[in-house]
């Protein structure tokens, strides 16, 4: 039972980490606290659901369509809704306040559209729901795939950010946006790109979630909250921190629901979160000075 719980926890944690990595990009680089983030996740879940059940396109292929769409949609959201806010508020505190209000509105727009099209019921579909034996533990293939995808996206993003010139530019804007123009970096366009890339990761998370969980139009806020907790636990803008924090959160939730009581999972989540905030407010892997 323990190995099964750990495997389930890793799958859930991998999903949390994947979802949180997009938010940490949006918040760490574009400085947008995006409350509509989870609704982008769920929108992608619905998109995968429609592609699979109506057109018979499997979610892996569906990603090839949904991820670029997620990127484009978030690029537009930033360019139309958020860039004007970023331009007129050069200090960070004001941008955070404004972006929270603007994306809070956006949350209801996306959720409203989803409710009109899909209703408020839970949806799911059967994809790779075949049992696989991993070291004596039975696990559904779709969950295993979810974990593999989460790890693959994390590695891909890590390589992009640390091994390419453009990745260095993104990290430079996150580290010191005021200095970026001094080396010829256009902060506006880097922030727009990072926000869109974060949106594409949200979409990836949504597709992965749809493969093994049931979801509904009003569930977005759950993923926004979970992603936010993971981001803060891992340290804002810290990719590997988000990965580790996501896995920890998934493991703890699963272990608590398996061995103590399923009703206490949320309580456990927030207990860890509060403990981190009290003991290490910069996050488990964040820097003390930032």
């Amino acid at each position: 039972m323990l190995s099964s719980a750990i495997l389930t926890g890793l799958v859930l944690g991998g999903t949390y980490a994947l979802v949180a990595m997009g938010l940490t990009l949006q918040y760490g680089v574009a400085r947008i606290m995006n409350l509509a983030y989870g609704d982008i996740v769920i929108a992608a879940s619905f998109a995968a659901f429609v592609l699979f059940s109506a057109l018979g396109i499997n979610p892996l292929l569906g990603m090839l369509l949904i991820l670029p769409l997620g990127f484009a949609l978030n690029w537009l959201i930033y360019a139309i809704l958020l860039q004007p806010l970023a331009r007129r508020s050069r200090d960070r505190g004001r941008l955070e306040g404004d972006s929270i209000l603007a994306t809070f509105g956006l949350l209801f727009v996306i959720q409203g559209v989803a409710l009109v099209i899909f209703g408020s019921g839970f949806q799911s579909y059967n994809f790779l729901a075949v049992p696989v034996n991993i070291l004596g533990t039975i696990v559904a293939a779709n969950r295993l795939l979810a974990l593999v995808l989460a790890v693959a996206f994390a590695i891909g993003l890590f390589v992009l950010l640390t091994r390419t010139r453009f990745g260095t530019v993104i990290r430079a804007v996150a580290a010191n946006p005021a200095s970026a123009p001094l080396v010829g970096v256009n902060v506006d366009s880097v922030a727009r790109f990072a926000f869109a890339l974060g949106g594409a990761l949200a979409a990836a998370g949504g597709v992965v979630i749809s493969m093994y969980l049931t979801f509904s139009a009003t569930m977005g806020v759950v993923f926004t909250m979970k992603a936010l907790i993971v981001v803060i636990m891992g340290g804002v803008g810290n990719l590997m921190g988000a990965l580790a924090a996501g896995l920890i959160l998934g493991l703890v939730e699963t272990l608590v629901s398996t061995y103590i009581d399923p009703g206490l999972t949320l309580a456990a989540t927030y207990l860890i979160f509060l403990a981190v905030l009290v003991v290490r407010p910069q996050g488990l892997f964040g820097k003390a000075t930032s």
Binding site: R171, A175, N176, S179, P181, V183, G184, N186
Partner: protein
């Protein structure tokens, strides 16, 4: 090469720069002297495009007015600024900071050559390539900031108080490096509190007070100028020194 004129700048109602004009010739080293709050930093920021001066201002580089262009395009034109407080990317490594310095399109083909030049100028940066920038000493961070600016192949390198907060021995080292840079094809525009050291490497100087240029001359003339001596070089003017007010 650089002709600046009619630069006025308001922060709210406060007039930080009042119709400032100055010029820097090819390969020249020019220093701007003045008390705290005289507007020296604002002037460099305006020339580098980090703040936008009032309408009518001209920042002409080879006759082309750059005022009004986006902030990130100035370095592409060959104007590099080492800001007060250095402005390095503290979370990134030394090597990454230098790599970013070569981000402007015109600098990319010369990245290897410029890096060799920077490491020759500041050997300590070579020993610390993989170190996270903010964990270095103040002097090393200042060297990195200058190195990063040099990576952009500037024609004009501007430095805002490079010796601020540095130990005297580090300051000496720093000015030796600046002097070497000044002997290359790069023109320097330096704002400094350390009047003696900066006049030592400069060809010419300007005096600033309350947002205006109030005097100019060759470095040699300024060194022997009574007003400059009184204000900055410990001449016999106790009131000026004790209040810190430019006479």
């Amino acid at each position: 090469m650089l002709e600046v004129s009619a630069i006025s700048l308001h922060y709210g109602k406060h007039l930080a720069l009042d119709n400032v004009a100055l010029s820097v010739a090819d390969k020249e080293t020019v220093v701007v002297l003045g008390a705290n709050g005289a507007g020296k930093s604002s002037l460099l920021k305006a020339i580098a495009g980090m703040v936008r001066p009032n309408p009518g201002a001209r920042v002409n580089l080879d006759g082309v007015n750059l005022v009004g262009r986006p902030d990130h395009s100035f370095v592409e034109q060959g104007i590099a600024l080492v800001p007060e407080g250095r402005g390095i990317f503290g979370d990134l490594t030394v090597a990454e900071n230098l790599e970013l310095g070569a981000y402007p399109r015109h600098a990319r083909p010369h990245e290897a050559r410029q890096r060799a030049l920077v490491l020759d100028l500041f050997p300590r940066l070579g020993e610390r390539q993989q170190q996270i920038a903010r964990t270095m000493s103040g002097g090393e961070q200042q060297m990195l900031a200058i190195g990063r600016a040099l990576m952009s192949c500037p024609r004009l390198l501007m430095l805002d108080e490079p010796s601020l907060g540095l130990a005297p021995i580090v300051t000496t080292e720093l000015f030796a490096a600046l002097q070497r840079i000044g002997q290359t094809d790069i023109a320097l525009l330096v704002v400094e509190q350390n009047v003696k050291a900066s006049l030592g490497i400069a060809d010419r100087g300007y005096l600033m007070e309350a947002g205006r240029i109030v005097g100019t001359g060759s470095a040699a003339a300024l060194r022997s100028d009574a007003a400059v001596q009184q204000a900055f070089l410990g001449g016999a003017a106790p009131t000026a020194i004790s209040t810190g007010v430019f006479p």
